[in-house]
């Protein structure tokens, strides 16, 4: 037990690891912020495309379905390897000359967009069809109906599951370490290699938890708020 505590929780080990692990953790924060912003936008676009009505929109719908099916089923670690090792070796202008962090953000965005698309879609479908019909009968176009009637309700409803997916994304930035990005996990590894102490890993875990707990509480708060508003009751 003492040995275990010393290896993972030695106060000196933890304190000494702070600058090094923090150096790497900044990369995690950067990747998660950029990826989250991109996912929010792209997933909404894909969700809208998936819901387009009419026969003429079939090819677009099919592409959107194929995309979500494929990337929801592909491990992130595999996508990251393909982008980070594959794209540069093609020696194409621009796309082969990006930094490893960019390839990491790209893989996170592509995989998580597929997940979040489904979240948005669930929200859009949860809005009662009568709302859509009412809007159309008032003379609103399809686009206007989405913009002013459906999406405002849909997005509000899916905020909690959306934030839940983002917590997943924040943690998964650690996977990007495998392609050689010097993130918190990589720095923790270097640290344990230099000082024969696993405190670096413990510290990285603490950093991730510190980042996700406020997120989780905020999600709880939003759920509660919605309950109060929609059901007019105190919870």
């Amino acid at each position: 037990m003492g040995k275990f505590l010393h290896a993972f929780f030695s106060p000196l080990g933890l304190r000494r690891a702070v600058p090094q692990v923090w150096d790497g953790f900044q990369t995690n924060i950067k990747m998660m912020l950029i990826a989250e912003a991109l996912v929010l936008v792209f997933a909404l676009l894909v969700a809208i495309v998936r819901g387009l009505p009419g026969r003429s929109a079939f090819p677009l719908r099919a592409i959107a379905v194929a995309y979500t099916d494929f990337f929801r089923g592909t491990p992130l670690i595999l996508v990251a390897y393909v982008f980070a090792l594959g794209l540069p070796s093609l020696r194409l202008a621009v796309i082969s000359y990006q930094s490893l962090v960019t390839y990491g953000v790209l893989s996170l965005t592509i995989v998580y967009t597929a997940y979040v698309t489904e979240v948005y879609r669930a929200g859009i479908e949860s809005v009662h069809p009568s709302q859509r019909m009412a809007a159309r009968s008032l003379g609103l176009t399809y686009g206007q109906t989405m913009r002013y009637v459906i999406l405002p309700q849909a997005i509000r409803r899916v905020v909690p599951p959306l934030l839940n997916d983002f917590i997943g994304l924040q943690k998964d930035t650690a996977i990007i370490t495998v392609i050689g990005v010097t993130d918190a996990l990589a720095q923790a590894g270097f640290y344990s290699n230099d000082f024969f102490s696993y405190a670096g890993y413990t510290l990285a875990a603490i950093f991730f938890v510190i980042l996700t707990i406020p997120f989780a509480r905020f999600t709880d708060h939003l759920i509660k708020q919605r309950e109060q508003r929609e059901r007019a009751q105190l919870v």
Binding site: T27, R91, G189
Partner: protein
């Protein structure tokens, strides 16, 4: 008068241009700066703190050698970039002029990247247990309980060349398990890359009987460059010059092997 002045100016310009052309500056990715690729962990080769994609105040054999190369080529500034070993051997464009990452020169790898002239003999080292008389030859290893790490050149060498009487112990998890076996005297001699066993022996001096010798494997470390890099002739001549004047050996003794173990035959 004007014509004479003009002729003088033109003449001067031509001479300067000719002089500049002769001292030909090395074609680095960033003019006047040497960009060196590294990866960690590589104790003894690269020591120092990685920050972002670079490393602060690096020391070690490969760090020292790249600094000596920069000096030899008249480049005053060095930039270090982390180039993960796993991404090294591909046709991908390189962000560095050369990378020194303990990369063994192989024919397969040389199809996608260019290697510099070798700068280190990647021999196998023999780390013996405490209390064992130092074996003086490869033949003497035949009668010992040998051990190795799985999937290493050392294990292949034991199986194909030494062919010991007792079955070698093979440790798959990490080199740590193999080192522990030598320390616990379960194994007489561990065969692994010589810089690795030398570093371990140095770190825990009382635990082992020392590095008894090295076995020549004809494997060499070379710096990795873009395939067909124009920088190669400059790097090769710098490495050859630093080998000839003893700088490379001095760095080996300083960071990796001190003393340099005898070669077993």
């Amino acid at each position: 008068m004007k014509a004479i002045l003009l002729a003088l100016v033109v003449g001067l310009a031509t001479t300067t241009a000719a002089l500049a052309g002769r001292s030909s500056t090395p074609p680095t990715k960033k003019a006047g700066t040497l960009t060196v690729g590294f990866d960690v962990p590589a104790p003894g080769f690269w020591n120092g703190h990685v920050s972002g994609t670079s490393i602060r105040n690096p020391t070690g054999f490969e760090a020292g050698l790249s600094q000596a190369i920069a000096k030899k080529l008249g480049l005053t500034k060095i930039v270090y970039v982390r180039a993960p070993f796993g991404t090294l051997f591909s046709p991908a464009p390189k962000k560095f002029d050369f990378a020194m990452e303990e990369s063994t020169i192989t024919v397969a790898r040389a199809k996608v990247v260019s290697f510099s002239a070798p700068y280190f003999n990647a021999n196998q080292g023999v780390l013996i247990r405490k209390g064992l008389a130092k074996p003086k030859s490869i033949a003497a290893l035949k009668n010992l309980q040998l051990c190795a790490q799985a999937n290493t050149t050392g294990l292949a060498y034991i199986q194909h060349t030494i062919r010991p009487k007792k079955k070698p112990l093979v440790y798959s998890a990490s080199s740590t398990a193999a080192f522990d076996a030598v320390q616990a005297k379960k194994c007489d001699a561990l065969i692994l890359d010589v810089p690795i066993v030398a570093e371990q022996s140095r770190k825990k001096p009382g635990a082992y009987g020392g590095v008894a010798g090295q076995i020549v494997t004809h494997e060499y470390y070379g710096a990795v460059m873009d395939k067909g890099s124009k920088f190669k002739p400059f790097l090769d001549s710098a490495i050859k010059a630093l080998k000839a004047n003893g700088t490379v050996n001095r760095l080996v003794r300083k960071w990796l092997l001190n003393p340099i173990p005898p070669v077993l035959k």
